[in-house]
Amino acid sequence: MEMETIQQLETIQQHCIKLIATAKKVPPETLSPASTFDEVGLDSLDKVTLAFDVEEAYDIAIPESALATIDNIGAMAAAIQQAVAAKPVTPDSQTSTA
């Protein structure tokens, strides 16, 4: 299933790497989940833009408190995975709990 694929951490990591590589104009192979935002040269505006891009792509919300502590690609991917997992699975399940 497509949703199951998206939820795989590795895929999310690769997606983050691709977004950052495009934004900073660096080859994706120079980045890894361990790369910190400082190493990559991601400033505060780049970071909020990245957050916007992933929120749009996964239809999630990354809370300010979580974003403030994220300082590398792996942590960003983990936060995305967590937010995706916390999403209601179907509109039906939302209705049934309402």
Binding site: K25, L45, V48, T49, A51, F52, E55, E56
Partner: protein, 404 residues
């Protein structure tokens, strides 16, 4: 007193990108009014705007600049590039001794309006670059970043007089010695769905086309664009062998303090008088007025009255034209386009005519240039030209240019 030379100019306009194409269109009286599409004109009393049709920013700006900018500030970057190239300035001057002062009335609506439309109608997220792209000072900031200009830098917003106020402030800064040079002018790109409808409601936009001072004038044509001038202290400019295109010698400002939209002649007259007084010993005979000339019944009548108040019996001998009849009313950028037009007129000794105005309103009592450009009557003596800008809110600004 220090003198202030103009050593570079650039523009992005509905009648051409670059001062050469701009001047050619002015000479030909060729307008840049383009029809709106069927969809765009729904609910409007007008059907055309003065749009910059052939602007391709991605060919002129870096990917980083494209990311951080929107149409209005992109206009500013492109016009500044042309002006600075012509002046040769950045290689020769210390960035901390240079100012950037731009006028911008509407801000970056092309970034803001679509984002808010999606927010209001679809609950969409708003992109984090919306604010930096839409802020009115984006043009000033991007130009200062591009050229390493670290002196005073700010944006003036006084509606339709924004650029004239900006150029006047920059002129005073160079003249006073606060800085040695300035990059100044204005930019606006406000022709969004909402903006057109807001102006439509004011019922001052022409259902046909802008023809200032004409007997049958029926309003303005909304436009967009950017004009930029490089100002330098005269001795510094001459020492480095810069070509001096013209000189700014006076600047006057006033407020009507009466009505939020309806102009009063006393305010514009005071601004013209103050601009002439500000010329001091550089005062010369006024041989041209580039009018605010929006083409509305009220503006043109009031402006004519103000010119009579200042020049009395001399009025009929001073040629007047409004170049808004070709480049449209570019809002906060208007004063900059008209400053460029005025300097070009003095440089070439040829005054642009008011296009489309075939029969001039005799009530106005002005010598309005129509039909074709007119040669400036002059000997070898320098002459002055005024450029008027009068904003909604009653805020008036007038620049006095002197021929070289």
């Amino acid at each position: 007193m220090r003198r202030v030379a103009i050593t570079g100019m650039g523009c992005v306009t509905a009648i051409g990108i670059g001062t050469e194409r701009f001047f050619r269109a002015l000479r030909e009286g060729r307008d840049g009014f383009l029809p709106l599409s069927e969809e765009e004109r729904v609910g409007l009393n007008f059907s055309s705007t003065a749009r910059v049709d052939d602007f391709q920013p991605d060919k002129l700006l870096s990917p980083d600049q494209m990311l951080l900018s929107e149409r209005s500030s992109q206009f500013a970057l492109v016009a500044a590039h042309e002006a600075i190239e012509q002046s040769g300035m950045p290689a020769t001057l210390d960035g901390s001794r240079i100012a950037v002062v731009f006028g911008c009335s509407a801000g970056g609506r092309m970034a803001e309006e679509p984002a808010l439309e999606k927010l209001y109608t679809q609950g969409a997220r708003v992109h984090p670059l919306t604010v930096p792209r839409a802020m009115a000072n984006a043009g000033t900031s991007l130009v200062s970043m591009e050229y390493g200009i670290t002196g005073p830098a700010y944006t003036v917003s006084t509606a339709c007089a924004s650029a004239t106020h900006a150029i006047g402030q920059a002129f005073h800064m160079v003249r006073s010695g606060m800085v040695d040079a300035a990059v100044t002018g204005g930019h606006d790109a406000p022709l969004t769905f909402g903006f057109l409808r807001a102006w439509n409601s004011l019922r001052v936009v022409s259902p046909t086309f802008c023809r200032p001072f004409a007997k049958d004038r029926d309003g303005m044509t909304l436009g967009e664009g950017s004009g930029v001038l490089v100002l330098e202290e005269m001795e510094i400019a001459e020492r480095r062998g810069a070509q001096v295109l013209g000189e700014i010698v006076g600047f006057g400002m006033s407020s009507d303090a009466r009505h939020i939209t309806q102009p009063a002649p006393s305010g514009p007259a005071a601004a013209m008088r103050r601009a002439l007084l500000d010329c001091g010993e550089l005062r010369a005979p006024v041989r041209y007025i580039n009018a605010h000339g929006t083409g509305t019944l009220v503006n043109d009548g009031t402006e004519a009255e103000a010119i009579h108040m200042v020049f009395a019996e001399e009025t009929g001998r001073i040629p007047v034209s409004s170049t808004k009849s070709t480049h449209g009313h570019a809002m906060g950028a208007s004063g900059a386009l008209e400053a460029v037009a005025t300097v070009l007129a003095l440089q070439h000794g040829e005054l642009p005519h008011t296009a489309h105005a075939s029969e001039i309103d005799p009530e106005l009592g002005l010598d309005v240039i129509t039909g074709e450009p007119r040669r400036i009557e002059r000997n070898s003596e320098p002459v002055l030209a005024l450029s008027n800008s009068f904003a909604f809110g009653g805020l008036n600004a007038v620049l006095a240019f002197r021929s070289v």
